[in-house]
């Protein structure tokens, strides 16, 4: 499946704002397809974020997160050029990773 992530990390007055969009269906397991068959649940369960390899966020998600999940988080200790990595894992065993450097 497509494993597209878009990320941006911008340092604004001491705080780095990190924006992430992940392409993912986030199926609840309750929706029916065009033929009336239930579409199996397919959703991201775990997302981790790190700053220069140091973990900063761990997120557990259920089916209630919207399709193509959007997330903004904030770091108090990042500098321009620092490396931010976000990795997701879903219930199908699929995974994706995005990486971005902090800009001013």
């Amino acid at each position: 499946m497509e494993n597209n992530m878009k990320m941006r990390a911008k340092l604004k007055s001491d705080i780095t704002e990190v924006k992430v969009i992940i392409s993912h269906p986030m199926e609840t397991g309750r929706k029916k397809d065009d033929f009336g068959a239930i579409m199996p649940a397919h959703f991201i369960q775990l997302v981790t974020a790190s700053l220069n390899n140091l973990p900063v966020l761990e997120m557990q998600w259920g089916t209630g997160i919207s399709k193509n999940p959007y997330l903004t988080f904030y770091l108090s200790n990042a500098k321009v050029g620092d490396n931010i990595v976000v990795t997701w894992y879903d219930n199908f065993g699929e995974t994706g990773t995005g990486e971005i450097l902090v800009t001013s």
Binding site: I15, R30, P55, L57, M59, G64, K67, L75
Partner: protein, 168 residues
């Protein structure tokens, strides 16, 4: 954190019931062999970390209990920015900010959803307890936020009127 806890749990009482344990190991190895081609290594780890009980609970109270939340105190230091009315429940943008010192985690619940727990966000190493996310809402409901700070829990709610079910 949770990673560490699950590792410890999996090593609990290996010696107390050796016979049962042997059987369990045999079963496990069969299951692992059967599924090894379908599953990548991380899946096992994810399954251990992800709080299945809490995420599958249909009642908010049960989901909270499964996350270990108890005696949560109302707090205005939890800021919730969400629309008063959402045209489409499939995408409701919510911003949450905790001003409670030593905030470790923020959990989001939607009372009227088929499963109440939406997500649990754990902060460390300089991550600020503030997020923006987009969630699904099945019906007009309170969004309930629970903040964990030390061994205490704090809560605030925001009602959102939903015009179209977003839980498909």
């Amino acid at each position: 954190m949770r990673l560490v806890n699950t590792k410890i749990n999996s090593k609990l009482n290996p010696t107390i019931k050796p016979i049962l344990d042997t059987k369990r190991r045999a079963l496990l190895s069969v299951m692992m062999t059967a599924s090894v081609s379908a599953l990548l290594l991380p899946v096992k780890a994810i399954a251990a970390i992800w709080n299945k009980a809490a995420f599958e609970a249909t009642q908010l109270n049960q989901a909270q209990k499964d996350l270990g939340i108890s005696d949560e105190l109302p707090s205005q230091e939890i800021e919730i920015i969400a629309p008063d009315r959402a045209e489409n429940g499939a995408i409701v943008q919510v911003e949450i900010k905790s001003r409670i010192p030593q905030t470790e985690a923020i959990a989001i619940f939607v009372d009227k959803n088929p499963t109440a727990l939406i997500g649990n966000y754990m902060f460390t190493n300089g991550a600020l307890p503030q997020i923006i996310t987009r969630i699904k809402m099945a019906d007009t409901s309170d969004i309930k936020i629970v903040v964990k700070a030390g061994d205490k829990y704090y809560t605030n709610t925001k009602n959102v009127v939903v015009l179209e079910n977003g839980c498909g």
